[in-house]
Symmetry: C2
Subunit: 498 residues, 2 copies
């Protein structure tokens, strides 16, 4: 086992270096460094793959397989995950990887131009090629029921078209009446959200709360970026970023809570898993401790929405925020603030969507991806399909493609299959909270008192510490008694909004 | 050539990643990340060496050798340097590298304890082992006249004990009368250097001057560290750090000038040399464009001392500094400021030494290293030899070993052979300035007018752009007509201080 551990440890070290190169490029790097930084990231990613696929690793794997324990031991999982990753990468030909990388550069430029001109025809030919290569990629990876399953598995192993169609049917049916109920009510005041809020006070409040939740600054730090993210270089160094909008206070507050949720997941993976496959995505070639994108999103959404977008939270903590901005928030009550930050308003833009309409944006994208990959939808018909769905789901008329089908970067990068994980995260967060409430009926009283350690401790035991040892559904079954289930999520949204 | 270029490019990419991991650990990393960061750096350094020594690189080298041009072409140099590096690393056994790395960790802890208790006996046994391994290392590298030559060559290729002994004899003889002349004169006032200077104003002045010199912030940045340094990740991203002492203004000013000098060297290496051996130290496994440690130090010392510690510089720029600290510097003239920052005062501590006594500290250390490595001096006798030299060279009685033989980190890390490069840098800086003055008699008028572009342009043409294409002495012969020569340095110091 030692030898395989050393090999995997080296892969993890290299991938953590890639993560640092990326973090730095988004937070610290002077503009001139972009081109050579790109070469450095490409070289190190290729090296990580080379080490994984090398003869030495294969030999070490065979020795480890001979010595492996049966069942869910960490050592056994490392053997299984290494084998799977070697087989995965062996199935994907080098020329396809190169073709995808080459197309990505061109397609992203075209997408940027298309979006700025709101002209889908500029992007369409590149998207057609991207779909074609994604389909070839799916075939290389291998699939049984649906080619899109192969792409989904890159981000959410075990999830399938079949599973998502059932999930989405239930969600759509459940969400629509809640949305109708909310829209029948008058809107709360939100005028105070858009006053001028200096960055310093936003940062102080966000960081103070993140630390209260349990985000550990001795193994983390908070920086500023245009697009907030969380990234780790082992559990010992887990960094988050946020964006401060002086004219819209909620952006940094809930953004920081969100990234702190991601960060706590990584900071609390069992230390014994450091530099093993249980803290490394060997298929995605990414050093991460969370077991899937959806599971990760469940933790960020849980702290953002269940903890942060919560009336009791603001009754307890609004005075703290007021203390940062005494002249700006003097005329606002905690309940008014809560009402404003949970206001529901259908819109065109996914990343600005509220908690109730967000999943409609996701379901539309997933549906389109599935049909593109299976060949039942032509790229040229995308705007029409998109606009029709926004009309039927949210009652809105899309004014232009920039605010419609061209709004997300994802399709220009070729990352088909990642959209489902956003909704998976929402569903999983509610399912976990539902179980916790059954096990600890006083948890809401604890949270209302500012005791976040009880929640964090429960999540650590049920989710965080396990790293990538269990798949998402195995984790859920162990934690809640069942696989992914939308009922608690709909019950949560109904209770909160209907 | 292409294939060798790709292999060397990959080595350079990995070594640049190591440099970023190191920069981050000294500027940004939360404390908890230290242990796993150390593993990441070790893995990547080993990988860089593995790529260099791989069969693929050897095969590519043979093909490149067959196609190489004779003479000093960049391609030809890459072939020669790759061959030399492979031979170097092949001569050093893996168990010796491991033994040195293992000892380093233990010896550094012992040194920290020894220095804090000012008790040399705690460090002595570890230093004995370090000397022994350094001698084995020298033997593995190979040497002709003196084993210390092998260690010096790691930092200053081409330099030797013989060369240094001749250099130091001339320097000692020349420096002593200058020092005596200075000490016969009254000391200038320095009271204003130790007033309270907020960091912000120090940073603004230092950075403004560095940019005026030519340090390019679109390919660089300035951060804060305890021990200032410069590091690059290709010429497109060259970062410097400094330290702000509120109670001692010159520290950050001349520290920033010094690091900007290093930074401009790296920023101005020929772009065609990016990711080649001409911007990579394949023997030291460090991605650097400067051709030797001494040549690098010549550039930092040139901007720090020849440009910065210059009467005309302060007559031009003192008002700018006063503007940052109007209430602190109102009672000071430019000439008084110049006199204060060029005050000569022998002291115990190397890193605090003035321009005239600095080399005595270096010569003492080099003499001790040479004798330790050749076996003519026992570790136990170090304090006695040290204290006697400080008495005879500087007229001071060392009060304790913490302010004597234990003051530098170098010997605990096993980096024997790097001390000579500090004095080499001082000598080389003066030699370059001497030649420039002969070629451009108006250069001092230009500098006095704040025209730093003439100096920077000359250095770019003579030194910076060449990267590692020429050795230090080849570079000097091309630039000044002769190899390293202490006469201009002594003439400069005589003119400035005697």
């Amino acid at each position: 086992m030692t030898d395989l551990s050393n090999r995997i440890g080296a892969v993890n070290d290299v991938l953590n270096a890639v993560s640092l190169l990326t973090w730095d490029s988004r937070t610290m790097m002077p503009g001139g460094g972009a081109e050579t930084r790109g070469q450095q990231i490409a070289t190190l990613t290729r090296l990580a793959r080379d080490i994984l696929l090398s003869e030495e690793t294969r030999t070490a794997l065979k020795a480890a397989e001979a010595a492996a324990q049966p069942g869910y031991t960490a050592e056994g999982q490392q053997v299984i995950q290494t084998r799977e990753a070697i087989e995965h990468h062996s199935r994907v030909p080098a020329d396809l990887i190169e073709a995808r990388a080459g197309l990505r550069t061109v397609a992203q430029s075209a997408w940027i131009e298309a979006r700025s001109k709101s002209d889908f025809s500029i992007f369409a030919p590149h998207l057609e090629k991207t779909v074609e290569l994604s389909r070839r990629y799916a075939d290389a990876i291998g699939w049984e029921k649906h080619p899109y399953d192969a792409l989904i598995s890159l981000y959410e192993p075990g999830e399938t078209v079949e599973g998502l169609q059932s999930l989405f049917a239930t969600l759509k049916a459940g969400l629509k009446p809640i949305l109708a109920a909310v829209q029948a009510r008058p809107q709360p005041r939100t005028d105070f959200l858009t006053r001028d809020y200096p960055e310093e006070g936003q940062r102080a409040f966000g960081l103070k709360m993140a630390q209260k939740f349990g985000y550990d600054l001795t193994r983390g730090r908070l920086d500023t970026t245009v697009h907030p993210f969380e990234v780790s270089f082992t559990r010992n160094d887990v960094r988050i970023t946020t964006r401060y909008r002086r004219d819209f206070l909620p952006a940094s507050i809930f953004g920081t809570f969100h990234e702190a949720g991601h960060g706590m997941y990584e900071q609390n993976v069992d230390p014994a898993y450091t530099r093993t496959t249980l803290a490394t995505d060997l298929i995605g070639l990414y050093a991460v401790g969370g077991t899937s994108f959806g599971a990760h999103e469940s933790q960020s959404r849980l702290w953002e929405n269940h903890v942060g977008r919560n009336r009791a939270f603001w009754r307890l903590n609004f005075a703290e925020l007021q203390a940062q901005f005494p002249d700006k928030l003097a005329d606002v009550t905690a309940d008014e603030f809560y009402a404003a930050v949970t206001r529901i308003q259908p819109g065109f833009i996914r990343v600005e969507a509220d908690e109730l309409t967000y999943d409609f944006h996701i379901m539309l994208r997933v549906e389109i991806e599935r049909r593109l990959i299976e060949g039942s939808l032509a790229v040229k018909d995308l705007p029409e399909v998109w606009n029709a769905a926004i009309k039927s789901d949210l009652g809105l008329t899309v004014p232009d493609d920039a605010r419609g089908v061209l709004q997300d970067v994802h399709w220009s990068t070729g990352y088909f299959g990642s959209f489902p994980t956003y909704t998976v995260g929402n569903v999983m967060a509610a399912q976990l909270m539902d179980t916790l409430r059954r096990e600890q009926p006083d948890i809401d009283i604890a949270l209302a008192d500012g005791d976040y350690a009880s929640l964090a401790g429960w999540l650590r035991g049920k989710v965080w510490q396990h790293g990538r040892r269990f798949t998402r559904d195995d984790l859920l079954i162990r934690a809640t008694g069942r696989a992914l289930d939308p009922k608690p999520y709909l019950a949560y949204l109904t209770g909160k909004y209907a």
